[in-house]
Each structure stands twice: as C-alpha cells, then as structure tokens.
C-alpha cells in the first residue's frame, strides 16, 4: 500500500511538471477552496501477534478502509507561482476489519475478528506550487496536526456476541500528517475556479498506529484581492 501511494504521488508530480506551462500564478490573491474528498486508506492497528513472548507489544496490522470527508482551505499568493495555504480537514474511515487479530479480553489472550472505525480532524499548512493562468497545475506539500478519534474496537465472538478488547476502547489521540497533493484547476472567471486533485497522506499519531491513504477530490475556489491598509 505504501508503494502504491508513493507511485501515485510521483505520478502526480510528473503530471504537474508536464502540464505546467509558464510559472505564473496569482500573486496578492486570497483564495478560499472547498474540497470534498474520498479515498481509500490503510489503517493500521496493533492487533498482530508478536512472537516475542507473553506480555510483549502487539505488532501493527493493516486493514483497508474507505474514507470520505472535506477540506476547507485558505491560500494566499505570495508569488506568482507560490501560494501559502492552510486547510481544515474532517474525514472518516469506514470500519476497518482485522481478521485473526490477537487481543486481550479481560486479561486473557484471544484471537478473533476485530473491527474499528476512525475519524480524523486536522489543521494543515503547506505551500502550493502553481503553474499556469487559465489552467493551473498545482503541487502542494503540507504538514498537519490534529486529532484521531477511534471508536471502540469490537471483537466478534460466536457470531452474535461482541466485546471490546482490553486497551482498544474509544479514544482520541494526537495525530500528525504529511501530505502531497497534485491537481489541476481551471479559472472560470476572475473569481471562480474549479479543479480536481489527488492526494497522498501519511498519518502518525501518539499511541496509535499509522494510516496511509490516497484520495481524490473536487475543488471549488473563490479568489479575490484583499484590501490591505497601510
């Protein structure tokens, strides 16, 4: 999975380079963007059997889950080819399922099928390289900080009975992210732009396993020149 999103990222960068005409963009402008996104991620959970013996930490195991969410971004053109951008992200993953998970139930090691949901909220900042005028190729690099909200994990046992394994209750963890996003936008008129983008993200949290994901989204942007009093 990691190789997949790396390839997607590299492909996006190449696409931006190829699509980019001259390096001209929107200096002085402020742009607000709404970006609905959907994707797929590899959500890891520490439910793998570790052969280090009793009491040793669990090994992370990944499960695929679909994601959906939205971003609200604000960007300011500091150069004709460079925007500084801040984004608010909210997204949720479908239930991730870990077959053959090794967990503890009331202190007793148990193997079973564990499911869990994850949602994230992040504040991201980054820089966007822009190339083009009417058609604008973009490449965004960013970092994010936020919260990862995990629902209580469920261990299925006996088909109908479900339990929450030890240490896998609902919780909120500090989360960080590194983002690469490539896209292309079309300037419809002096104010409005529409676009598409593809994004790859790696999330690492405190006390939680990492998430790698790729997503695609649409972008609707409104731009204007703010009045600056001096």
């Amino acid at each position: 999975m990691k190789w997949l999103w790396l390839r997607v990222t590299a492909g996006g960068m190449v696409a931006v380079t190829v699509l980019a005409p001259t390096a001209l963009a929107d200096r002085y402008e402020v742009t607000v963007t709404v970006r609905p996104v959907g994707g797929v991620g590899r959500v890891q959970e520490n439910v793998g059997r570790n052969d280090g013996g009793p009491g040793s930490a669990s090994r992370p195991v990944g499960a695929t889950a679909y994601s959906a969410g939205g971003e609200l971004g604000v960007a300011h053109g500091v150069r004709n080819w460079l925007d500084l951008e801040g984004d608010l992200l909210g997204a949720g993953f479908t239930q991730a399922t870990y077959d053959g998970a090794w967990v503890s139930l009331s202190g007793a090691p148990t193997m079973g099928r564990v499911t869990r949901t994850t949602r994230v909220a992040q504040l991201r900042v980054g820089a966007t390289l822009r190339a083009g005028v009417a058609w604008v190729s973009t490449l965004h690099l960013g970092l994010g900080l936020g919260a990862r909200m995990q629902g209580a994990a469920t261990l299925m046992s006996g088909g109908e009975n479900s339990f929450t394994p030890d240490g896998l209750g609902g919780k909120v963890a500090l989360d960080s992210a590194a983002i690469v996003r490539a896209g292309i936008e079309h300037r419809v008129d002096r104010r409005w732009s529409v676009g598409v983008s593809a994004e790859a993200v790696h999330q690492a949290g405190v006390g939680v396993a990492s998430i790698d994901g790729i997503s695609g989204g649409l972008a609707l942007s409104y731009s204007w020149y703010p009045t600056v009093s001096r």
């Binding site: 020149y225 009045t227 600056v228 001096r230």
Partner: protein, 306 residues
Amino acid sequence: MQSTLAPIVVVLVASATLAMAAPTPPQASERSDTEILVPPQGGTATVSIHVGTVAILSFPELVSGRLALVSSDDFEIKRWGEKEVAVRPLRANAKPTTLAIATNSDTLKVNVTLTVVAADKPAVTYVRFRAVTAEEAFTAQVDAAVERRVGRLEIELFGLRNNLDELTRTRAERLIAERIVQRNETFAISAHERSNEHVVVHVTHGSILGTDGYLTMSVENRSPDVFRVASVQVTVGSQDVTGAVHLVAGVSPLEGTLGVVPAGRTSQGVVVVRSVDKLLGQPLSLIVTGPHGSQPIRIDRGIVFR
C-alpha cells in the same frame, strides 16, 4: 508689367548668398558658381570676390568690345575668351567697382558691381549671365524672395523651437521644485484587480507632489493575447479626477490607445490625480479599459490619498 519689372534686375538663383538664409549656413569661405538671370531691359548684379582670386563672368554670346565704364582701377579686368571676362581684385581694400558689359547683339546688358569680401564671407568664382524673358525673371525673383523669406522664417522657427524646449523644461523644473517644497510624500498602496481575461492591474504606490497626486500602477497581462489599454480613469464617485496618464508599454501605442501590453508582459504606468489635496481621505476608483470599454478592470478599494 515691363515697367514694374524695371527695378528688378537681377535674380540670383541657387547662389551662395541665398544659401545664407537657410537654417544651416554654408561654409563662409566656400567658393561657388552662380547664375544671374538678366531681363530684356538689362539689369544689375553684385559679384562678391575674395582677394587673391579670379572670378569669371560668363555670357551666352560674344561680349561686345565695349568694356568701358569701369568705375575704379582697383580691379584687373580682362577678356578671357570671346564670351568670358576675368576679374581680379588688386588689393584687399579695393573699393566696389562697377563694370558695364553688353553682348554683341545687345540682348544682354548688365552693370556688374564687383566687391571684395573677407575670406570668411561667401564669394563666387564663376558667374553665368543668362538672358531671360521678363516673366522668367519675375518668377525667379519671386521664388528667390519667397525662399529668402521662408529661410528666415525657418531660422526663426528653429530658434523658437530650441528656446521653447528649453523654456518648457525650465518651467517644468521650476514647477516641480515648487511642488516638492509644498508637499512631497510617497506611500505604498496595495490594490489589485483582474479581468476575466487574466489581465491584472496593480496599484503599488501613491505620491503627492504639491497639489496633485500620482498613482503608480502596473498592468500585468497574463492572457495569451495582447492587451490594448485604451483608457485609465480615476474617479471619486462619479467625478473624473484623471490627469495625464503615462504608460510605459514597451510597444508603441496604437492610435486610440495609451499603450499595448504584450502577452505575458507587465507594463508600468503613472496616473496623475488632479487637485488631490481636495480628495484626501476619500476612496478613489481606478478603471482600466480596453478599446471601446472592453475588458474593464475596476479597483474600488484600497486607493486613498491621506
């Protein structure tokens, strides 16, 4: 007609003397030839000669044997062939001398005044006399008179033009100096707007010089087509306060435009805002338009003189 032509005697055509009336005088000591037209009733001519040189007076037919009536002996006068007479001043302070010459058929009679001029004055070394009709002589005289007059006017105009440039510059410098003393401030402005065609206008500075304001602007053409700036207007509400507009477009402006901004280029410009001292604190609008009001770019915020 004939009687009115009587005083018109000789007309110098294409002479060095005439050339003196031109804006650029010839070399004063330049030696030249000249042609003198003589009407049927005869005429007079003045021939200027440098001391130490010989001047040839050439006639279209045989010169009569009567080379009489030389008014002084300060000149040596000799026949030179059958149709020419050679004259040479004998001393630098030779008095003007008249010499009456007629041709054999009496169709050409002329009384020539020989004068010695300084080396820095124009003189001739070869003079052709030609018999012409009275009309030709009159026309030539009128042409010569017109040319002399026009030449004088050209010289005067040339001088006036030079003086005018200098005068204008001096007055402009004085005006600028007065205004600098009165008030001289420059401040940053950050006002921008763009058109749907991706032409962006930036107003970056404002200046107050005396009672007038100046807006420094640039027109950034990010479209794939040239942008023709037809007008730049500064308004306060509905009042037009635009003064002179100067746009450095890098391309010669077409007729009816202030400038042409090529695709992908940025051009700088300045707009004068008249009597800005009465507009302090009021928001101004700047409107840049293409030909026939096309592609209007209007900045309504951020332009204030304080």
